[in-house]
């Protein structure tokens, strides 16, 4: 098996295992490239059908192109789409105009997710994070429990031997399932190419700039790039010396920002 097929096979195994083990699984879908690959892998795992809801935690500050993509492909792929917004925070006026990036991310993503989990009683959540994105994400497991307060006990994670995962947890726990954990950014793009997965066109260069990751519009910056095709993006990434999340302000607002965000339940 080649490298991409080996990654695909492992991810399918993880997705099927979680689908079997959790009573109410759901998959987060941000319309970013990673979570689109995640949805694609779920379709592979279940022969075209995604048998659980796909959830967009909507900060309401996303790019218009992302909302258009969501509406189009949720329909085309027959997804059961659920959108979650922290309306209380929205009503209080939480926004990038009034608050710092870490606060907005926490309120509009982490708290919004908390509210949705409370409401929908999801016990397993597929999340498209990868180890190569950030040092704290590098320490994640395939099945990563969060307690009732959303805390991640990274010092005492269940051991994962030989693809055997802990499947029973204390009440109130939800488990983050990470099918893409071992993929790299280049792997994702090679897979997008092999499978011909449509992406939001913000990923491709226009007027010398493109978005390498997509988040909230006010705090996501494009990078200098002329890569306007998948092949050019792959070539660019093979030679880059700039880290992927450089355009995401919330990561860099303070030292250990990601660890602090993630300790409170951020993805």
């Amino acid at each position: 098996m080649d490298h991409l097929s080996a990654l695909e096979s492992q991810s399918i195994f993880i997705i099927r295992e979680a689908y079997k083990k959790f009573k109410k699984p759901a998959m987060l879908w941000s319309m970013g490239k990673d979570s689109c690959v995640n949805v694609w892998l779920a379709r592979k795992a279940f022969f075209g059908k995604v048998p659980f809801p796909v959830v967009h935690i909507d900060t309401t500050f996303k790019f218009p192109e992302m909302y258009a993509y969501r509406e189009h492909f949720a329909k085309e792929w027959g997804l059961k789409l659920i959108v979650g917004v922290n309306q209380a925070a929205k009503d209080r006026g939480v926004s990038y105009a009034n608050n710092d990036a870490v606060t907005v991310c926490h309120e509009m993503k982490t708290v919004a997710l908390q509210q949705m989990i409370e409401k929908e009683k999801w016990d397993g959540l597929f999340v498209g994070i990868r180890r190569d994105e950030d040092g704290t994400r590098a320490k994640e497991k395939y099945f990563s429990p969060r307690n009732i307060d959303f805390e991640w006990n990274y010092k005492d994670q269940p051991p994962e031997l030989w693809n055997q995962f802990q499947s029973d947890y204390d009440p109130g726990t939800h488990v983050r399932i990470h099918p893409l954990l071992e993929w790299t950014e280049v792997d994702v793009w090679n897979y997008v190419k092999r499978e011909n997965i449509p992406l939001v066109d913000l990923y491709f260069a226009k007027n010398g700039k493109r978005y390498r990751t997509l988040g909230c519009q006010p705090i996501t910056k494009p990078v200098e790039s002329n890569a306007d095709t998948i092949d050019k993006v792959i070539e660019e990434l093979k030679n880059t010396k700039i880290s992927e999340r450089v355009g995401r302000d919330q990561d860099h607002s303070q030292r250990y920002a990601m660890q602090k965000l993630r300790a409170k339940g951020y993805m």
Partner: protein, 427 residues
Amino acid sequence: MSGINGNASDALRTVTPASELRIVFVGHVDHGKSTLVGRLLHETDSILPQKLEYVKQICVDRGVKFEYAFLLDALEEEQDQGITIDVSQVLFKTKKRTYRVIDAPGHKEFLKNMISGASSADAALLLIDAKEGLREQSKRHATILSLLGIKNIIVIVNKMDLMGYSQENFNKLVSDYTNYLKTLKVTPKAFIPISAYVGDNVVMRTSQMPWYSGPTLIEILDSIDSHKDAATRALRFPLQDVYRFDSEKRYFSGRIESGRLKKGDEILFLPSKKTAVVSAIERWNAPEPLEAEAGESIGITVEDQLFVERGEVGVHASAKPLVGKHFRANIFWMGEEHLAKGKTYQIKLTTQEIECKVKNVVRVINSSTLDEVSKDHHEVAKNEVAELELEFKKDIVFDPFNEIQETGRFVLVDNKRVSGGGIILQA
């Protein structure tokens, strides 16, 4: 890589070999694992400049000397305490291939994290501090590696600079460790004297140790054969699930753990002994393949009706596994509560999950000293290794570990938690 812009290409699957090698760094705390990984990343040009700047700034702020270890130990607490708490994974590349580095903690308190990290490795690098010599975890980790069945083991004697690059000191360590490893039936591929801090014999050969003519670390890593032979063994296809969504089709799904399966094969499912002929290997958004092999997550449809569930193992009748209600195994215990004779646990072996009882504790050894620790044989404590006789509530499908690894290993669950891992010796 050409000609695949468009539909999924099958050509790509067969042409490109799996080129990644997974290596785990183990050894006693403070013997320099994270430093060596950092050194490798630096010298193979695998660190982004921003990341390096970020870590250097942390060092300036803290008033400490720059350490490569900070590249791996990303958690604030790890950097405060100077120890690795949980496994990190990073990638680096040589001309030959990509390496996935698993940096495992060396502190006894985090042994289960080390085991978790090491269990997926193709090769292991055992680090020893030239000054401190063999310590508790140097030995314990070797025992764990032998139990995990990791064949490619390289011993790295680090911090040679602190011992004046002494050949005599190196030779004595080699001799001491060789004797210990012999009792585990482990033969390392090499012993390499290095200084991760200075950079001797990691990627580059320096003039410090003219008496050493063996390979550098990178040379020995590139010499490891990454070819996996699971596909050449007998077919073991444990069912993960059976799907029947909208269509009339029932997809019998799972990952082939060893061997090959072809369209038209007659598959025997055990322990139920039901048989079925493969009518198709199903795939979505890809052409239908005629065969599939070890490592592939697949789904098959069959001729006629078949009622089997998760846990059944598909095999060829010509090469059957063992089926029974007991076996003997070596286990290592990670649970806070002792494993006890007569107590009931859940075993997970491939997708089988069965209630099991510890019928007998044959012997218990301290995984560091290898001394037999218990004469009455009723309990196994955390971090101990033991030989057990296990008894199952119903038939279990398995192979001895030395025949087929994938169906010869298992975990034991105690009160929801994965608390032990084991390999099967015999029925």
